[in-house]
Amino acid sequence: MNVVVLNEVRKGFYLDSVALMRLSREVAGSPGVIEAALMMGTPSNAAIMRNAGLLEEGTAVKGNDLVIAVKAESESAAREALDNAIKSLDKPKTQGEAQSAWQPHSIAAAVKVRPEINLALISVPGEFAAAEARKALNRGLHVLMFSDNVSLEDELSLKQQARTAGLLMMGPDCGTAVIGGALLAFANKIRRGRIGIIGASGTGTQEVSCLISEAGAGISHAIGVGGRDLKKDIGGITTLMAIDAFESDPETDHVVLISKPPHPDVAKSVLERIGRSRKSYTVCFIGATEIELPPNARFSPTLRGAAELALGDKKIGAGFDAKGVASRLPRSGRGGIEGLFAGGTLCAEAQVILAAAGRKVASNAAIPGVVKLGVEPNAGRDRLIDLGDDEYTRGRPHPMIDPSVRDDALRAALRNRDLSVVLLDLVLGYGAHADPAEHLTKIVADRGQDAPALIASVVGTEQDPQGRSAQVRKLEQAGILVAPSNAQACELAVAIVQNAGR
């Protein structure tokens, strides 16, 4: 086979990553095409395409160039696919809500015309995100930075600038926030209530807020701080400001703080600040062991536990009987569990629960005490994969937007007879895929009768655009077991392998 690579570079042509993903898929589906990519020519994207053999020798690209790259079985197939991609790009835009309104070319122009704007939502490629955030802060705007791949140095300097100006810098890599009823980035349609959330984890915040909402209580605000805020380098700048913000908020009685275990120095200053608060707190440091807390705080190592404490010890999914469900299932596989997660914190919670049940666990996003995949030997261990990790998302959308990131790994897992269980999560809400259950059920439809049991949890509410119960129903009709929470999905996985005496 004579493999041909063709490139087209559009100078100064920008499309966001979701639009690029749709077009990439169209081109990749053309006859005779082996691989295709449409990407902005940022340095990191250029490296990805070069490593994949998708850039022709001598092709030079810049960050404001759109690159169409096609690898095909023949020159004619490559040419046809490239021509179709160019036609799609040149089609006048007729859809898209944003197209219907006035669009300024900069934050400065937007603020000049609409001085009421008080928050910038930034989701441009990581290389440019800090520059945009700085422009927003310079104009007195709070920032939610959804973009990731931003350097620690930039994060620190932006947060210091924000603190000095009295502004809230949420992120980078802040997946969700809810400020007063405004659902920002990935967020679920949750009930309003008197529980506040400070989250260094997007999916952790979503899981806890949805469990609280579905249990009948509600959220006042959820402030995202970004996954690295409680590391030593950043020192919890945004977390400390969020605690202060909740302190003076009359709508909030109780606050849940969600993070991976912080640096001890940062934990000390955060817990000290909580200790001075007049409000009660639930502290959820996923994977941490019991820590010394002030009298107004209680600890949970899991998201479900955090939701239960915030609800005043109300049980989530009280009628769910993991052992009973497990006892009714046929045996399959040799006792292994594999988790394929879109939500990073759901993956971390799974590690906590499996490790606590005595399972040997490995993960690409290992919590303390768990073996790191690809670094240490992991034979015979359960594998829990965070598909939202940088290694899977560089140059492409997050699996919550594009669930196909999981497809290949899922197909491989379904054929793996060492596995008795495959654990999955579906994350609903604004910003997420329109119908992740439909996508998933198509992938698993032709699995063999002796394939591992599929267990899913659905992060979402009935009021979300996808509707939680409709998604659950689709999964159940496809023979997928659905648990009320991620934690209970993990407990069911453990019960299945224990029930089989493995």
Binding site: G12, Y14, D16, S17, V18, A19, M40, G41, T42, K62, G63, N64, D65, G96, E97, A98, A101, Q103, P104, H105, S106, I107, A109, V111, V113, E116, I117, N118, L119, A120, L121, I122, S123, V124, P125, E127, F128, A130, A131, R134, A136, N138, L141, H142, F146, L167, L168, I179, G180, A182, L183, L184, A185, D244, A245, S248, T252, Y430, G431, P465
Partner: protein
Amino acid sequence: MTDQDRPQYQQLLARKVEVVNVGLEGFVKDLRDCGIDVVHVDWKPSAGGDPQMAALLAKLGV
């Protein structure tokens, strides 16, 4: 302390949020569906697509 005397980040929770969206266009529809006023920036990488130059210009307030 009155609300006006508090730092802006403490006032944010009590204020109506109005958003400028820079990046994924899909967020605009989601925000409008929730009744949030939003202006979408027709964004292109600045400084000819050179991230370091773009960062420098932003620091200089350009």
